[in-house]
Amino acid sequence: MDFKKEIEKISVLARIELSEKDKTKFSKELNKILDHFNILQKADVKGIQPFLTHSESRNVFRNDEAKTCFGKEILKDDFLDKQGNYLKIKSVKKEWEL
């Protein structure tokens, strides 16, 4: 597949609009970087588990006690658009197809 087409698809998945110039630039650069990454194909990973976490498995739940939390006022302050206690966004109709 044409790598520029691939970048176009990825940029929509990542929700980042790219100019034509950026598409050309990024496809060239990412191609080179991915080429470098291909070195990983020669590593022997048979039977190796993927890395999951640094810490030992342990219970991180605390007791079920009420604690003070941020008030909604403080968070509402930053909303770019709002109506009462609601965060207001632009229409979502018919826009989710890629």
């Binding site: 998945l13 990024f26 070195i39 990983l40 190796i48 890395f51 976490t53 909303f79 965060l87 979502v92």
Partner: protein
Amino acid sequence: MGIIDLTIKELNQKIRGKEIKAVTVAEEFLEVIKKKEKNIKAFLEITPDLALEQAKKVDEKIEKGEEVSEIAGVPMACKDNILFEGKKCTAGSKILENYIAKYDATVIKKLKEKNFVLLGKTNMDEFAMGSSTENSAFQITKNPLDLKRVPGGSSGGSAAAVSANESVYALGSDTGGSIRQPAAFCGVVGLKPTYGSVSRFGLIAYAPSFDQIGPITKTVEDSKIIYDIIKGRDDFDSTSFSKKENKKEKKTIGVPKEFFEKGIDKEIKEKTLGFINKLSEQGYSIKEVSLPNMEYALSVYYIIVCSEASSNLARFDGIRYGFSEKKAKNLKDTYLKTRGIGFGEEVRRRILLGTYALSAGYYDAYYLRAQKIRNLIKKDFEEIFKDVDFILAPVSPILPFKIGEKTDDPLSMYLADIYTIPVNLAGVPALSVPFSKIGKLSISVQIIGNYFDEEKLFEFGKIIENLRDYD
């Protein structure tokens, strides 16, 4: 030697001993910042009112005869991806240009309890993505040792501020070398603590399985003072934990042969090997060790880091806070345009790379394979630490490069991180300490320790400081 040359310990003693007022100290540093900033550009925001108010509190406490802490009244600078309630926190990005922190990071809360003094927030590569601080959306920081060169990154502002005596110490964050490399480039000391030993609560996340906050200081002793304050388990960070330090008496140093094979500057190699010889003369036993999977480290690191970043930075959507593009037609368009305009080039590049690595059809070949090799690299370190106390290695294969020299070639910029990233992949701690000079530039070694061996790193770091070949 003036006030600005002093270490945390020296300055704090003078303040506690009433030789000098904390307010006078803060004023002096603010004056230095005013003079030097037009050349260095280490700070994104300077907070004189806050600094003077915090310093005044220290003076009042001392006046009343109250006991004050080991850092009370000593001015510091903080990387702009660590939240301080009520102050701007931009992470060097346009997308957070006007964002005001709603709460304190745990490290800030701990420093506040000790009556610290904040001079300002420092410049950084956008979202900590970079090795030169040239990726900041706002300004380019210069290396105080040579103004034509980069200070390293991504904590370049913090390292430059300490190196230029604009601040006594600073906080940075290290995902793949972002504390150790700028500290080395600017000739100061930088600690990347064991993963999980310092809370990440209130640090704007880049790649959560790598990110760690740590100190940048003038001396190893100062590094220990700050680390001891900020470390420890935190209820707000489930990956943080406290552990007792390991204690071993022998002194064996492992030197990984892969670090000296190719791509290293000839002078750095010679000086580092010379220094290892010097340690051997001091009675340390030197052992050649190997990280057999080193050749994969860079690719593994960038695949995982970019994948984590692509997921993490999804929160910057132009809806709840930060920059939002008003001209968007609908919700999806708001996302596309806000992120297209709000994120700088390197951030977009890494999110695209991460999205690619995680997307259907490529996940197994890139992300999953990288996570398996990450485990192999972690095991390589565990194997080495069965035989040695420390690993000693260069921090960077190259000297600080010229501003603009690598901005057109992202891969060559990534390669500059080759010696620092294996440490973050494994999660072990490492301390970067200057030991020699080439011309006016400084070079450092990093001492890599076993998990939670910070105490031993500080002890050994002091020995390195004493053996360095300049004053």
